[in-house]
């Protein structure tokens, strides 16, 4: 039994094999109460398998874990009753109204009858869905459905909420509102465990773990990951006709990858000083005078791609300098 009351989720050497395939390879991490913890990784990396073990749906093949003090190997039913879970599929009944969906989940999660009415009002006001409460769920926009799904997932006031790619296919305004709600909940001490593919979403997390081929290959705050975990540097090159220069730059030694960002080029390089010199030389030779080359902070996406590539080569975990 995990005794530290400040830890909401704790796993030690957690492993899941399917036959000879190792889906999750002895991972370790702790999530503090009130923390927004992001779990990132490509498809098939082990994200869903981990979440399923934490939610009491899958039994690990080795290792231990505790969620809100409950043992994931032995107290799976208690875990299910005490956590909130929302997936990208939302699991709402389209042919029930908003209120009926809330009532339905209230019943499933055994909210005490005396409390049900009051709790429903709380949820409706929290997710801002007052004016739609007697509408059929099927006709709601993606953003409203998403908020309703969140409302239903927390009807029983769980202290930990698992969100599995909660905003796939939801537009930016709705996503922004959704994250405001999530942050409010975290401020009240609720722990949020979220998986996502989207880096702008990952930026909202207090801490991130990157999982790849079943292993955690980096874990830190977004800012530390961006500033300390990538060995390559990113250069931003502003020059007119950037599209054409994109291919010409491929020939410059030391450039690993280039991409267009608006009217500028971002390149990933090992040796910023050397490559800067080579590009300057190339521009001068072709009589280009109007250009700038500056080092910029890597994006989370740059960092993750770089970590995955270096993991493929050497393995191991990102070591902070």
């Amino acid at each position: 039994m995990a005794t530290d009351n400040n830890i909401a989720v704790s796993v030690k050497d957690l492993e899941k094999k399917f036959g000879s395939f190792i889906a999750v390879n002895r991972i370790n991490f702790d999530v503090k109460r009130g923390e927004i913890f992001g779990f990132l990784g490509p498809n098939g990396a082990g994200k869903s398998t981990t979440i399923k073990m934490l939610c009491g749906i899958l039994t690990p093949t080795a290792g231990s874990g505790y969620v809100d003090g409950y043992d994931i190997n032995r107290e799976q039913e208690l875990i299910k009753q005490n956590i909130g879970y929302m997936s990208q599929k939302f699991s709402l009944y389209d042919d029930l109204t908003v209120e009926e969906n809330i009532d339905f989940y209230s019943g499933i999660y055994k909210v005490p009858p005396k409390r049900q009415r009051e709790r429903k009002e709380e949820i409706i006001s929290m997710i801002g869905i007052e004016e739609f409460k007697s509408m059929f769920t099927g006709i709601l926009s993606g953003g409203l459905k998403q908020r309703l799904a969140l409302g239903c997932a927390i009807i029983h006031e769980p202290k930990i909420i698992f969100l599995d790619e909660p905003t796939a296919g939801v537009d930016p305004i709705a996503r922004n509102n959704f994250w405001k709600l999530i942050k409010e909940m975290a401020n009240k001490g609720i722990t949020i465990f979220v998986t996502t593919h989207y880096m702008d979403e990952a930026e909202n997390c207090d801490r991130l773990a990157l999982i790849y081929q079943g292993s955690i290959i980096a874990m830190d705050t977004p800012i530390n990951l961006k500033t300390q975990c990538m060995k390559e540097k990113v250069l931003k090159i502003s020059v007119s006709n950037a599209e054409e220069w994109l291919y010409k730059l491929d020939k410059v030694e030391g450039i690993k990858e280039s991409a267009l960002f608006g009217t500028a080029i971002h390149t990933i390089v090992d040796d910023a000083v050397k490559v800067k010199q080579s590009i300057k030389k190339l521009f001068q030779e072709t009589d280009i005078k109007d250009f700038t080359i500056e080092s910029i902070q890597a994006s989370l996406e740059d960092v993750f791609i770089s970590l995955i590539e270096s993991h493929e080569k050497v393995g191991g975990m990102c070591e902070l300098k």
Binding site: A174, H197, M199, E243, Y247, F304
Partner: protein
């Protein structure tokens, strides 16, 4: 050269104005991003430009062809990839490519060479005989793109092509798009992910059928004095209410 041009392009569905007096010009070889909330009119705009949907009023030309009067001729020059990729799940990778080659009347002679090129360019070669159903999201997306490119279109419409695709596959996908830019293909791309829109040369923000903003990402951010397109757009949309 301007490859896409619209003049007061409008499409109504009963009382709903899905696209409202759209005026747009897109240059050859440009990556243009169409962004906006759900239901803003992104998909309707794409379908109008691809000649799939008739405008209620206004005009539009794509690669010199009028979008309603010459919608059949227009289709020779364009490709449209929808969010669902339009693949046949019970056909293999190769069968899907051949099917699209048939539809677009690609001659047998040209076909072999083109398929070979698309396969290597998209990294699909190892999966030739795999049923589309068994491909990962990222691979499906690449196959969808390869099928859309079978007739070497000049203008490519991609409707939210990276929804639900992981970062590694997304990165590969962008590298394929850059290859196309090299051949001066014009790419019009819709997305609800604004970090992705930063990659476009210019972006147009659509909200309730109207183009609220159309400029290079750097200008839009500077004007609003924010670091991200997301922050800029939320501020523009809130102001429009």
């Amino acid at each position: 050269m301007i490859t896409v041009k619209t003049q007061n392009l409008t499409r109504k569905f009963a009382s709903l104005i899905a696209v409202n007096n759209l005026n747009l010009e897109i240059e050859e070889g440009e990556i243009f991003g169409l962004v906006g909330p759900d239901g803003a009119g992104k998909t309707t705009t794409m379908r109008l430009l691809a000649g799939i949907l008739e405008p209620t009023s206004g005009e539009g030309w794509v690669y010199g062809k009028h979008i309603s009067k010459e919608s059949e001729a227009l289709k020779d020059n364009i490709a449209y990839m929808s969010q669902r990729f339009g693949l046949y799940e019970d056909l293999t990778v190769m069968e899907n490519l051949n099917f699209y080659a048939d539809i677009y009347n690609v001659s047998l002679k040209e076909r072999t060479q083109r398929i070979e090129r698309l396969m290597s360019f998209s990294g699909l070669s190892p999966f030739t005989n795999r049923l589309a159903r068994y491909l990962s999201g990222g691979m499906k997306q690449k196959l969808g793109l390869a099928c859309a490119l079978i007739h070497t279109p000049k203008v490519l419409f991609l409707d939210e092509p990276t929804n639900g695709v992981d970062p590694v596959s997304r990165r590969d996908f962008w590298q394929i798009l850059y290859q196309l830019l090299k051949e001066k293909v014009t790419i019009i791309f819709s997305t609800s992910y604004l970090d992705e829109a930063e990659r476009c040369k210019r972006v147009g923000l659509i909200h309730k059928g109207q183009l609220l903003k159309c400029d290079v990402p750097a200008n839009i951010k500077r004007e609003r004095n924010v670091d991200t397109l997301e922050a800029a757009f939320i501020s523009i949309i809130n102001e429009s209410h």
